[in-house]
Amino acid sequence: MKTRNAVARHLALCTALLAGGLVSTSAQAAVAVGDSAPAFELLDLNGKKVALSDFAGKTVVLEWINPECPVSRGYAEKKIMIATAAAHPEAVWLGINSTHAKHADFVAPAEHLAYDSKQGIAYPVLYDSSGEVGRAYGAKTTPHMFIIDGAGKVAYNGAIDSGPGAASTNYVGAALTALAAGKRPDPATTKPMGCSVKYAD
């Protein structure tokens, strides 16, 4: 009888773990606005450790970046991210490259440094080749932008701006202005646009 109970308990536990696993691996694992920002510690292009917790209390912008993605590169060439970051010195700006090391888009840190210097990108770019941090946030495109407020909560999730066309609205710039004034960003969510993040299959 005891054995049967143990087997039943084991089965129940396995079922629960399996169910939990299925839920957490779905695309729904993305963070929502108001969620605690998933913690991370990654290496920058110079091999220095950078953790989200280093910036506790500050507004942090995360930009999913890929020099081999023409959309991400197009924004770099137009200096959209650099100009937005410069207009908001109160915020910390971090690039994250989640390209899988075996994907054709993967560039070595030295090459990424050369790209950054050519584009005038002075903010740190962190490598997330396992894709773990990208998946924790639900980063889908390059670029895909997240803003984390001083309390460590996700305050914005979406596109840098309203995209191509005559009159483009800079959503991230507007969100940072709102946060600096003690207001919630509006919109706080938009649809990110660009190349897909090149995760492992």
Binding site: S26, Q28, G34, N157, P164, A188, M193, S196, D201
Partner: protein, 361 residues
């Protein structure tokens, strides 16, 4: 090098469908195509044809509507996007503000296909060839004063394989030619425009015997939409059905899980709120498109379009229960958690009382 065979195979059914309509159309086949704007991945142009909706028997130059479309031909493996591009990409944006008569016109989107990307991401769009109708069409003035001004349009689009390349194209079209120029090319252009319009996803009310659709929300830790299309006994049958949703401002929708149930086609679509800090409305509307249906052989006996796939589109408003994602702000209603907490407290209290009573014995 674009394969002519591929072009013929994609345009073929459209052409035959258009030709099937042609005997109904007494007008000369006035039509025009704009110049292709080309790059390594794609070429794109505007096309136009005077519509069959013009007065019967009217001659060139009289009041009529000119139907327009945006046509892409794509190199193998490359695609452009549906109105909801999915996890990556973005749909083409056509700016007609320099053509005042068309300033209010917008693209219509044919039924999409699904493209799987590395890492479980997915996008929605078209490969090989797509013709987006532009609506409403151009109304030709009845008085026919002077030649019609050309259409000038700016197009921003993204073409993707695994990598994505953004392009801007300046497109032009000779509307005067679309009003006046007759010829075999006009027949083909008008046929293709008619076919792409005929194949647009239709509301269930527009097709006799289309399935009844029910939509409900299944609450739970992974809350889901459940859509059931009651196809049994109807005029349409499933041939690889797939379900797509327009972008929703409040919810992220996951990949639909399909089962062929006794009551018809059943899709379960997990979703979650995009923003936990704002209250959700009591009801919200989801716009869906169902593809991969076929007319039943019997029901289609009298229809020339029996061989073509059918797509349905509609929207449904559902009540949103007090759903919140796993991490809730204080005050968000989670009755199940509340009761679990009460049960846990009661259990601890019972254990405490039991131990106390044993000790006191």
């Amino acid at each position: 090098m674009r394969s002519m065979a591929r072009l013929c195979s994609t345009a073929g059914p459209a052409l035959w469908l258009g030709l099937a309509f042609y005997p109904l159309i007494a007008l000369p086949a006035a039509a025009a195509t704009g110049p292709w704007v080309e790059n390594e991945q794609a070429r794109v142009r505007l096309v136009a044809a005077r519509s069959a909706r013009g007065p019967a028997g009217s001659s060139a130059g009289s009041a009529a509507t000119i139907d327009l479309g945006l046509e892409f031909e794509l190199e193998t493996g490359w695609h452009v996007y549906w109105s909801n591009s999915g996890d990556a990409g973005y749909p083409p944006r056509l700016d007609l503000s320099r053509t005042p008569a068309l300033a209010g016109a917008r693209l219509l989107f044919p039924a999409p296909h699904r493209f799987d990307l590395p890492g479980g991401l997915v996008s929605f769009g078209y490969e090989d060839h797509v013709l987006y109708p532009i609506a409403p069409g151009f109304e030709v003035p009845a008085d026919g004063e002077g030649p019609l001004a050309p259409v000038l349009a700016r197009l921003d689009y993204l073409v993707c394989r695994e990598e994505c390349i953004p392009y801007t194209a300046e497109l032009t079209l000779d509307l005067e030619a679309a009003r006046r120029r007759d010829g075999p090319e006009g027949v083909a252009t008008r046929a293709r425009l008619a076919a792409t319009r005929a194949s647009l996803p239709a509301g269930p009310g527009a097709i006799a015997g289309a399935p009844q659709v029910t939509l409900r929300v299944e609450p739970g830790p992974a809350s889901s939409l459940v859509l059931v299309f009651a196809t049994s006994g109807g005029a349409l049958r499933a041939a690889g059905p797939d379900l797509f949703f327009e972008v929703h401002p409040l919810f992220a929708l996951d990949r639909p899980q399909f089962t062929a149930a006794a009551d018809g086609l059943r899709f379960r679509v997990p979703f979650r709120a995009l923003d936990e800090t704002r209250p959700l409305p009591a009801t919200t509307t989801f716009a869906w498109t169902l593809t991969g249906l076929e007319r039943d052989a019997g029901a289609a006996a009298d229809s020339s379009s029996g061989a073509l796939g059918v797509a349905l589109a509609g929207s449904a408003t559902v009540e949103i229960p007090h759903l919140r994602n796993s991490e809730s702000p204080p005050g968000a209603g989670r009755p199940s958690n509340l009761w679990m907490g009460v049960a846990l407290l009661a259990g601890v209290l019972a254990l405490f009382l039991l131990l106390r009573s044993r000790r006191s014995r």
